[in-house]
Amino acid sequence: MPSDYLWLIPLVPFAGFLINGTIGRRFPRALVSAVALLCTAIPAILVAWLWITMKAPGAPEILQIVSQPWIQITGLTINFAFTVDHLTLIMLGVVTGVGFLIHIYSVGYMAHEEGYWRFFAYLNLFMFFMLVLVLADSFLLLFVGWEGVGLASYLLVGFYFQKDSAANAGKKAFLFNRVGDFGFLLAMFLIVREFGSLDFSHVFNAISVNPEWHGGVLTAIALLLVLGATGKSAQIPLYVWLPDAMEGPTPVSALIHAATMVTAGIYMVARCHTLFDRSPYALAVVAIIGAATAILAASIGMVQHDIKRVLAYSTVSQLGYMFLACGVGAYTAGIFHLLTHAFFKALLFLSAGSVIHALSGEQDMRKMGGLRKRIPITFWTMTMGVFAISGIPPWAGFFSKDEILYQAFAAGSLGKFVWLIGLVTAGMTSFYMFRLWFKTFFGPEHFDEQVDLHDHGAAVHAHSGGHAVMVADPEEDHAPHHAHGVHESPAIMTLPLAILALLSVIGGWVGVPAAMFGHNEIEHFLEPVFSTGATEAVTASANQGLVLGLAAASLLVVALGFYIAYVFYYKKPRSAAALAAKAPALYRLVENKFYIDQIYTAVIVTPLLMFTRLILGGLIDGGIISGSGVAAGATASGLGALVRKVQSGNIRSYAGWLALGAAAVLVVMVFGRAIWPH
């Protein structure tokens, strides 16, 4: 049975981390890659096996392994327990499958980088924690994985730690996640208080058998969990760390900050759907946060110039979609979008990485253009990704996004409102993705061929900082191309791109709704997980006309977005700047990301720093703590100085003191008796 080997799924990548992390420094690069790839391939194979076993007719819907008690105190026992149901299976598939492809890609992308072993050790560490997160059977074990992926994210965002901006971005990501984790922790405390357990099955069963429980403390728990999810999944108000996290190497952005880690919040909300279903208020909050994040991030994404930042805001926006889906109770649609998004966003990031690689580290789209003919494979894979995310049928994104929009439309008046926002966002998504597409691959070439004639081969992409030690690479079959400037990436990078491109095309076909003559397999697949919810999905009574009508509406919006991008960035490239010049204040506002970073700095960071420096640092530390130490020392040395005068070294003064003392004793003996008679 695969369940006997379940524990191997996370532990193999951990072994890879230990090997590469401790002795990988002495390994040749080929061996480091072999260890890292093997330690990701084995879990992928195990997951495939698990998938086959659980898809078989009559197979159990839930597999579980439980260890000896981990934490045992009065009234609370927590085990190391893994559980696999169909939701976990999808997450496992995404993490190991996409993760493995990105590992392969990284071998090519990082070939010239310093700290090659370190990179792969961190990547395996991330895989370990992410797998623990999705396999966990209790809130606490999920939290272990939750914190662990945060750590891996911090390490990898700050991979080029010699660079200040990268180190700061890592810290920023960590700190913003900390705010969310605070909410998660409080939620766990409340759960322990209310349910006396942190096991998913125990908690959710307790809710299921008590249908009269609504709102109240459940809302409090749900809202705190949402705070945790906003941190990890980069939603308002904690989304600002994700764009900065693009300082990390591009495969990291693809794996952690697009495909897997940032979807942990959505996974967690879906996992806790029993809880959320009992709190309409918390669900409404989720829906509103999701919708607001989707449109805000999309609007910022429309004016960014850095190719990775466009994709980062696009990720935030798409995560908003998933949140929106969960908020209207359409968890299946949310997870479906998570799945397709993992494919096409990983593809987009990796393709962007390939573009950056081709241009030797250039990320500014204003310095690209006309790359279509120069890097054809990357162009075609990127095109697949762009079509998928824009929602053009039959690419993957169309089905998942439309499912979300349809479910939102069918979910009451708030649903209609978020549907409208989702629809507008779909148009904006189409616009900014085609803007990226046109600016990068079409039009005149803006890049400088000379840039890469020197210093290539040294670590140059993704601004890798000040280390320029060229390490000879035995498998450097593409080295000769470097001399030619702009060049297509090696096969080890284009192969994962091709696979992901294929998945971005066909990945959505598992969820074609019945109204479009499909079977919506993912819906049936996830039914055992989500059917217990009170909010029954509306697909049962799916109105074919409505489905097709809404799909037509979103297609129209997408086409409009494409057309505007086509006019602005292909047909009349000057007109975009002209339009921006007409509303300079608005343009500046959006280009500076609505000044949200600055607002956070002014409202939170600066007062906090002032408080720390003046009150904590100056008054408490400098004044009271350090001052009391100084005062104690000064007292001792002052007293000492006083007493030292007695020790003059002059014998006669000693004798004088002695005589004085003797006289005093004498006086007390003689007259004391008179004063205090016995």
């Binding site: 020790q647 003059s648 070294g649 002059n650 014998i651 006669r652 004798a655 004088g656 005589a659």
Partner: protein, 100 residues
């Protein structure tokens, strides 16, 4: 018969003179002599009390004190001579090597 208190007062006066001389005088030999004076004042009280309580132990103590004083005088004078040879002064104010 002379009362015991008279001996004691004489002894106290002698002892006080010794103390005062010890504290005031600069010359090492004079200081030395004042120590002897104090010792002998104590000897006088011993003898006086031995006479007052007809007991012999006080008188025996006096012999011990005399022996110790003799030994001390021998050592002390030797030290004084040694100091004078090295420093050519017996002024105690200039012999304050104890202070660092």
């Amino acid at each position: 018969m002379v009362p015991t208190s008279a001996y004691l007062i004489l002894a106290a006066v002698l002892f006080s003179i010794g103390v005062a001389a010890f504290l005031i005088k600069r010359n090492l030999i004079t200081i030395f002599m004042s120590i002897e004076l104090m010792l002998n004042a104590v000897n006088l009280t011993f003898v006086a009390f031995a006479h007052m309580w007809p007991q012999v132990s006080g008188q025996i103590f006096v012999f011990f004190v005399m022996v110790v004083a003799a030994a001390e005088a021998a050592v002390g004078l030797a030290i004084i001579i040694a100091i004078f040879r090295t420093r050519e002064t017996l002024n105690v104010d200039s012999i304050d090597l104890m202070k660092s």
